[in-house]
Symmetry: C2
Subunit: 201 residues, 2 copies
DNA sequence: TTTCTTGATCTGTTTTTATATATCATAGAT
DNA sequence: ATCTATGATATATAAAAACAGATCAAGAAA
């Protein structure tokens, strides 16, 4: 119900990860040493308000004092906004839907193979893709991967398929990150947070 | 738009005053030395988050991190709740209305005599009464004072009336604060914050 | 294998809070 | 004139953050 130091630490960490920022990147944005950020996020430090303000601003958060009775309302309000860590990447809805569907497929798959490490890697790989601009030229690739995975569902022989898909998506991800995509939208191929946070107050 | 250290300092001070707490009283509630509170409120100190949390809790406030885009909504929401510093004193609506009317009367009077120091004192005296339990036995006194003040409105000879009313209300206030009221509700004659904040978390 | 990124950790130094205690001037009340 | 409450300050000490810089291990990429 009430916020404590560790709650705030967790919130900061969650906000940073939602923005796909490393501690060192945030360090630059906020003007706070990385070593200090590490300590703060792990709750080992009773930081000063100025530091908290700096970090919050860099993360698009604002420090406020609200009356106790309005806390619940404020919480739900904030939850709705915070819970959309995936920013506008300019992806078409087709790509977006394909990614969402693929995510669900792997999630379903995970229910039958909870300990599959390969699968977990694939899941995080897909998750990362949602932060990148994925050209439509990859749409078919994504859809095909989804189809294959669905076909192997519940089969023990799915290992090969998952492995193949994983390496395929790793390659895709790296192409996008490094702007080596063969798509015409090479200029837009950047981490999402560069798109809408280029000009900060 | 964005909160800074001094903004927070001001907010703390405003919250404390809205609760009619002295720095020493808050010091006891929050477990923070009065000297430190003085420094904090004057913005001379970059306090630690733990201290801020302690003070906030004692004042019925909660420290939260909200996304930038939800800030306006949160602000208006908080304003509505904070902007009612007058707590439930158990006064009857008759007394409440009389006080409100009296407040308005002095405000109107103030427009014609903006520099009148006596009048200003009377206004703050009335304001203070709203924090106290005022027995109905004083209703007539209040109403009469209001009538007299309204009668002298715009007259240069109002000085005497204001002075009389002022000393009268000072006496009333002191009676109430010290529980010396001749009213039967002597037991309830306490500062309002004792009534609803006796049990804190 | 080699390289790079990430987050955690260590060392040493500087700065500042936090705390306890006391004092002071002011304003109000008696 | 006296007594009291208030907020701002002063001093001294202890504890801790802030900072800079280096390092380390794990994971992933080349």
């Amino acid at each position: 119900m009430e916020y404590s130091l560790t709650d705030i630490a967790e919130k900061l960490k969650a906000a940073r990860e939602a923005k796909n920022l490393s501690q060192r990147q945030l360090s630059q944005l906020a003007g706070v040493p990385q070593s200090h950020i590490s300590k703060i996020e792990s709750g080992h430090v009773d930081l000063r308000v100025s530091s908290l303000i700096q970090l919050s601003r860099a993360l698009g958060l604002e420090l406020t004092l609200v009356p106790h009775n309005t806390l619940p309302a404020v919480k739900t309000m904030a939850r709705g906004a915070v819970h959309s860590p995936v920013k506008n990447t300019g992806n078409t809805s087709a790509v977006l839907n394909a990614l969402k569907r693929l995510e669900r497929t792997t999630r379903d798959l995970g229910r039958h193979h909870p300990t599959d490490k390969l699968l977990a890697q694939l899941q995080s790989q897909i998750k990362e893709l949602r932060h990148l601009r994925v050209p439509d030229s990859y749409l078919e690739t994504i859809q095909q991967a989804d189809k294959q995975l669905r076909a192997t569902e519940q089969q023990a022989a799915h290992l090969e398929t998952v492995g193949n898909t994983l390496s395929e998506f790793r390659h895709l991800r790296n192409s996008l990150v490094h702007g080596l995509s063969e798509s015409p939208a090479a200029e837009l191929t950047r981490p999402a947070y560069h798109l809408d946070e280029h000009d900060d107050g």
